[in-house]
């Protein structure tokens, strides 16, 4: 039973994907889609969900939406404008390099969410992850300084603030 309860967020996800992909809300799809969602949720719940209360927490979900809006507007705009400026600048001021960036989260989803947020914004790419030392290796288009504080403040801090509220 607990496995099915833990599967609830996955069932919702799989059901939405099934209905959207099928592009139909006929009885046939609503019924079979639910069966399929139930099955895929049951099969994958042990892999994906360890704490179902976190996954169903409405406050975390609201933070996820806020983060989504922040990320897609402010964070992306800042990163894009910075890279566009460097491309269009006559002297092309780049100083590329790979830097170590510490992070302070423990949850798998948090680590991945921050890493993918970094990679998806132009100018920074996570190339390696050291879980033992809690360090991302990030390729940075303009290395201001390689010390942990500078890299953390410039690359990880903004994302981590939100991701902590969502996944930690």
């Amino acid at each position: 039973m607990s496995r099915l309860v833990r599967a609830i967020p996955i069932i919702v996800l799989a059901y939405v994907v099934y209905i959207v992909f099928s592009g139909s809300v006929s009885t046939y799809d609503l019924v079979l889609g639910f069966v399929v969602a139930l099955l895929s949720g049951y099969l994958t719940s042990n892999l994906l969900v360890s704490d179902v209360r976190k996954a169903l927490n409405i406050r975390r979900f609201i933070w996820l939406i806020i983060y989504g809006i922040y990320y897609l507007t402010i964070a992306e705009f800042k990163a894009h404008s910075d890279v566009i400026r460097r491309i269009l600048h006559p002297r092309m001021p780049i100083n590329p390099g790979i830097v170590r960036t510490p992070y302070n989260v423990v949850n798998d989803y948090s680590i991945v969410a921050i890493a993918n947020s970094i990679t998806n914004t132009p100018g920074t790419v996570v190339v390696h992850l050291d879980e033992g030392k809690k360090i991302y290796y990030v390729h940075w288009i303009y290395v201001k300084a390689p010390d942990p504080k500078t890299t953390y403040d410039n690359i990880v801090k903004d994302f981590e603030r939100y991701v902590k509220k969502i996944f930690e």
Binding site: Y18, S22, S26, L32, V36, S40, G41, T44, N46
Partner: protein, 270 residues
């Protein structure tokens, strides 16, 4: 350099001429001069509730043709595909895939978590393709190929030992593949059994009623179209292809060293 240019220009000219002949020049025959007679036959018979003795009851003409009009052909195609898989199983017979010669670290946590998140969505999409095989393009084989992406991704992102950890072994894959094949085999004989019970004439692989064989599998459940045997074939084929491919991926990912070691061990014993 100059030669390359000449070759490239010649190729471009050939392509332009070919496409001209194929389209504007009428090289494909009457394709562009209206609907061909064969097409009219299919359009009139794939889904036609007013002509119950001559229809496959499926709006998806390809599935109707593949599993109804020429169902036996598909049946033996399926048999050929599974014989190939049986061949691989035979080659690897006696090899214990559960032995571990290394730890199997896989890729980084980032890849692993994203891969894991894809699984439920992949299941939903692949199953949707299978369940709509009689309605929209796609079908059992395509759905199975989409589903088999999951074990492939897991082997690459996690290592093949991960499949053992989630108890997706060679034996389970073989069993579920056989369930799928059994589904196809049973569906082949359902109309004959119905015919025998009711004392009616019926053919193997029959879907809808024919003039001299009035046995029909249900085309509708409630108001939902399920196209009689087509949905059963698609779902069975989906299961068989998914786990057929899974079985192949498991076999192909067994370490060469492990296989050689076990084969040598066998040689010494005999």
């Amino acid at each position: 350099m100059k030669k390359d240019m000449i070759v490239a220009v010649c190729l471009a000219i050939v392509i332009v001429i070919m496409s001209y002949i194929a389209t504007l020049g009428g090289g494909l025959g009457p394709l562009f001069n209206g609907v061909r007679p064969l097409t009219i036959i299919y359009l009139n018979t794939t889904l036609n509730i007013h002509n119950p003795n001559f229809t496959a009851m499926s709006p998806e003409a390809v599935t109707a043709i593949v599993w109804d009009y020429r169902g036996l052909d598909t049946l033996f195609e399926t048999a050929v595909f599974y014989l190939a898989i049986i061949g691989s199983v035979a080659i690897y017979r006696g090899i214990d895939e559960k032995l571990r010669i290394s730890e199997g670290f896989g890729l980084s946590k980032i890849v692993k978590v994203v891969t894991k998140l894809l699984i439920p969505m992949n299941i939903a999409i692949a199953t949707s393709i299978a369940l709509h095989g009689h309605l929209t393009p796609g079908g059992g084989f395509q759905a199975g190929a989409a589903m088999a992406v999951i074990p492939m991704l897991l082997i690459i992102a996690f290592s093949r030992y991960f499949l053992l950890d989630i108890r997706l072994s060679r034996g389970l894959a073989l069993a579920l593949r056989s369930v799928g094949l059994l589904g196809i085999a049973l569906t082949v004989f359902i109309p004959v059994v119905i015919g025998l019970v009711n004392g009616l004439n019926a053919y193997i692989m029959q879907n809808q009623a024919k003039v001299n064989a009035p046995v029909s599998l249900p085309a509708f459940v409630g108001s939902s179209l399920i196209s009689g045997s087509l949905i059963m074939y698609n779902v069975s084929e989906f299961l068989a292809v998914t786990f057929g491919f899974t079985l192949l991926f498991i076999l192909l990912s067994i370490e060469e060293g492990l296989v050689k070691e076990q084969m040598r061990g066998e040689g010494v014993e005999h």
